[in-house]
């Protein structure tokens, strides 16, 4: 055997080994399940495919949890993991799902909205595959997902994405971005079917408030805020002012631009009677000028480059040696959701929405996120759900 052939065989074996090891890890990530424990307030669990065609039997179909009080009242929908690389949304929604008790009205939660995105990785961006939250019973492990759905589930992409129904031209990737495919269509691409089913849920269940939870870079001007269209502006403003006065954190209001289509805070308001809100908390992990993309950066938000840039006034949020820990972000979301419900109730007493047994900002920061998660090994089997 010549030396060149021997080298080639060695090279093929080397590449083959790398591909096998890496491929298996990616396969495991896609099929990893995080158990969700339905809390005392959960009264019914449906599938999003119950509301729109084309999702049943696909990886895109996702659980919809209903927390319905005996007393009729307002209805609020919480959507998390629209972007699965912004995990404070999922964690916040799980705190509600595993703990909240609704005394009046209905709370509907979709914790893993873009389930395909949650099983996707961001090629080229070096994310960790998982992150873990400490609890009193051990560590709860979650997948780190991607902003867009997996090409394994929706492919190919067009050369340019033409938004329905406005025909606005968007980046080709946005056809897999479930915060660009609203209001969706029943016979469109899979992600358009997903947002269409969510729109149908909102319309059929007569949802009053929709809150889509996100995270954004510290160098992005639209961060640490509530994005709201004109019809939701009053409640958003009152929420922002109250949070600042009562709980001491900033969460300014950003108007939803009418010329930028496909976003939940724009299209849900335009295509239903619901009042949409989009919550953004700072997420240093997503910033470009950071050190290694590690689990620690994701959870604690501490980064030396961002700290220097903060001192040069180049960030849009206050930033110091403490970073932006996950508990702070999740706490902000919890308080903002509860405050929006409270402000809505104040304005619409006939549609009151009363939620109890859910922590606010200071409690989450003090006790940690994990203290609100239930041990799946001790929960009843019928209360454990997987997507």
């Amino acid at each position: 055997m010549s030396r060149i052939i021997a080298y080639k065989i060695l090279l093929v074996l080397f590449i083959g080994t790398i591909t096998l090891i890496g491929g298996l890890q990616l396969y495991h990530h896609r099929h990893f399940q995080t158990p969700i424990v339905a809390g005392p307030g959960v009264t019914e669990v449906k599938k999003l495919s119950d509301y729109g065609p084309g999702l049943d039997g696909t990886i895109t179909d996702t659980n919809v949890f209903f927390l319905k009080a005996e007393q009729e009242g307002g209805k609020m929908l919480i959507i998390a993991n629209t972007h699965s690389n912004e995990p404070a949304a999922l964690l916040s929604s799980l705190i509600f799902l595993e703990n909240a008790v609704v005394e009046k009205g209905t709370l509907i939660i979709i914790p893993q909205f873009n389930n395909s995105g949650g099983r996707n990785t961001r090629s080229g961006d070096g994310y960790p595959l998982y992150f873990e939250i400490k609890t009193h019973w051990g560590k709860k492990r979650f997948r780190m997902g991607n902003r867009v759905a997996s090409p394994l589930d929706q492919w190919p992409d067009p050369d340019v994405y033409v938004h329905y129904p406005d025909r606005q031209l968007l980046s080709y990737l946005d056809i897999r971005n479930t915060n660009r495919t609203w209001p969706g269509r029943p016979d469109g691409a899979l992600m358009e079917k997903l947002t269409y089913a969510a729109m149908e849920l909102i319309r059929k269940e007569n949802v009053d408030l929709v809150i889509d939870i996100h995270g954004a870079e510290t160098m992005f001007p639209v961060t640490n805020c509530i994005v709201a269209p004109e019809k939701s502006m009053r409640i958003a403003t009152m929420t922002s002012l109250t949070l600042k006065a009562m709980e001491g954190f900033d969460n300014h209001v950003e108007p939803s631009p009418s010329g930028f289509r496909g976003l939940s805070h724009r299209e849900i308001g335009d295509f239903s009677d619901a009042l949409p809100f989009l919550l953004e908390a700072p997420l240093p992990f997503l910033d470009q000028p950071t050190g290694p993309k590690t689990e620690d950066l994701l959870l604690n938000g501490k980064d030396p480059f961002l700290l220097k840039l903060s001192k040069k006034g180049k960030l849009f949020v206050p930033y110091d040696e403490n970073g932006w820990p996950m508990s702070k972000r999740v706490g902000q979301h919890c308080s903002a959701v509860l405050e929006i419900a409270k402000q809505f109730t104040r304005k619409n007493p006939e549609k009151a929405l009363l939620i109890s047994n859910t922590p606010r900002y200071k409690q989450v920061v003090k006790n940690g996120i994990g203290s609100y998660f239930k041990d799946p090994s001790k929960a009843k089997k019928e209360n454990i759900f997987h997507n």
């Binding site: 890496g22 190919p156 067009p158 329905y164 968007l170 992005f220 010329g259 470009q288």
Partner: protein, 437 residues
């Protein structure tokens, strides 16, 4: 942490330089740089060693779509060429416009601009029309070095041209700015700069030739080749592109690679001579392998640079630069980022840069358009030199790559100045966006 990132960066540079010194190819050098950076980073678990293989595999898929476009577009064009269609087009271009130089040059510029403008990839322009345009320019008495230079600049501008500009799309998606209003801020400079380029590099007839001698030198056109045999496959391709824009809610999304495959089937059926498609496809992929593997290696490198923090370090350095110096240095930073990361440069440097420019009151859309003119220049720079290498390949320029690159300096400088002025005076130029809407 910062010291460790700097050392990781140095290890990657050293690995790349050593590999190049040992005359290892660009793509393998990049792979070795990624591997070395990943192993060095693993000492501090950035990334953990048990994740290194996964990062390499994951990164290798970053440009899979681009790779599929390259393969299918090149096979499509290879069929056109093998059927004699390329020779037919060149012969007729020369026959009808040989003595109308201005029209001939502008026509060839438009032909080169269209595929890239519709797909957002200058490489597609070169793969689809590069070879016949190169031949036509050659018969117009332009030296091969300048032919390659013209093709490189025009193909780059085609990628920046509306309606599809991948850099602007990546930046728009990453900065939550709608991808609208780019038609005039991109279209006007592309047309002006394209015209300037073909006239500057191509106006002077450097090699003696006459129409008769040019026609004599041309390769034989196969019997039975007619204009419609060449035109129909292109009409099918552009027809699909346009149809998918006009009826996006009726037609299914089939993707550019499949659009090229459909067009290739038409080209195959319409060919006046029999083509062995298996052999042709095999030869084409073999020819493309260095480019395809470069794209695979770029993805791996980008992934490791992010996982180790090197990408963040580069991004930080750009943003920390004082404003005046930043504007001046954009002339270097932007093309170099493209040369290293291809489209990844827009994400790594472009997104924080646009946020920063937006925050100091500049008009983001016009600024993105200005930056979009600078990125394609980087496609001539190593290590990737994607469009540069293709330009040299399709124009069959055999001498050193640097001698080709040097001949692009006049349009390069003018494009850089125009791009920078668009960024600096973006607020004053916002009327271009308003007129586009």
């Amino acid at each position: 942490m910062q010291t460790q990132i700097v050392f990781t960066f140095l290890v990657m540079i050293s690995a790349y330089s050593f590999a190049k010194w040992r005359k290892v190819s660009v793509e393998i050098s990049m792979f070795l740089a990624a591997l070395a950076g990943g192993i060095f980073g693993a000492f501090t678990k950035t990334p953990p060693i048990n994740q290194l293989a996964r990062h390499l595999v994951e990164g290798s898929f970053a440009y899979l779509d681009v790779i599929l476009i390259f393969v299918t577009a090149t096979i499509f064009m290879a069929i056109i060429s093998e059927s004699g269609g390329v020779n037919y087009v060149v012969k007729n271009t020369i026959k009808y416009f040989y003595n109308k130089r201005l029209i001939a040059l502008l026509l060839l510029m438009f032909i080169t601009l269209i595929p890239g403008a519709l797909t957002g990839a200058g490489s597609v322009s070169l793969l689809v029309v590069g070879a016949p345009v190169a031949l036509a320019l050659g018969y117009l008495g332009i030296k091969r070095r300048k032919v390659a230079a013209i093709l490189f600049i025009i193909a780059g501008l085609s990628a920046a041209a509306p309606p599809v500009n991948i850099w602007a799309m990546i930046l728009s998606a990453g900065t939550a700015i709608p991808y609208v209003g780019f038609e005039l801020p991109l279209g006007i400079p592309v047309l002006l700069l394209g015209t300037f380029t073909v006239l500057t590099l191509g106006w002077k007839k450097q090699e003696k030739s006459t129409l008769e001698s040019a026609l004599k030198q041309m390769p034989q056109v196969p019997k039975g080749m007619k204009w419609w045999r060449v035109l129909i496959p292109f009409l099918v391709f552009f027809g699909l592109v346009i149809a998918l824009r006009v009826w996006p809610f009726t037609l299914p999304v089939i993707g550019l690679p499949f659009q090229f495959v459909i067009s290739a089937v038409f080209a195959l059926i319409l060919s006046p001579k029999k083509i062995n498609i298996v052999k042709l496809s095999r030869d084409t992929v073999k020819k493309l392998t260095p480019l395809l593997s470069t794209m695979v290696a770029v993805g791996m490198l980008q992934q490791i640079m992010t996982a180790t923090g090197v990408r963040g370090l580069i991004s930080y350095a750009v943003i920390s630069t004082p404003l005046i110096l930043l504007f001046v240095s954009l002339a270097v930073i932007i093309p170099v980022s493209e040369g290293v990361f291809t489209y990844g440069g827009a994400a790594i440097i472009g997104i924080p840069l646009v946020w920063f420019l937006d925050s100091i009151g500049l008009h983001a859309t016009v600024a993105i358009a200005g930056l979009s003119l600078l990125w394609p220049l980087g496609d001539g720079l190593p290590p990737t030199a994607l469009i540069g290498r293709l330009s040299v390949m399709v124009s069959e320029y055999k001498r050193s790559y640097w001698s080709f690159l040097k001949s692009t300096w006049i349009p390069w400088v003018v494009i850089t100045v125009v791009g920078l002025l668009m960024v600096i005076f973006s607020t004053q130029l916002d009327f271009l966006v308003k007129w586009s809407l």
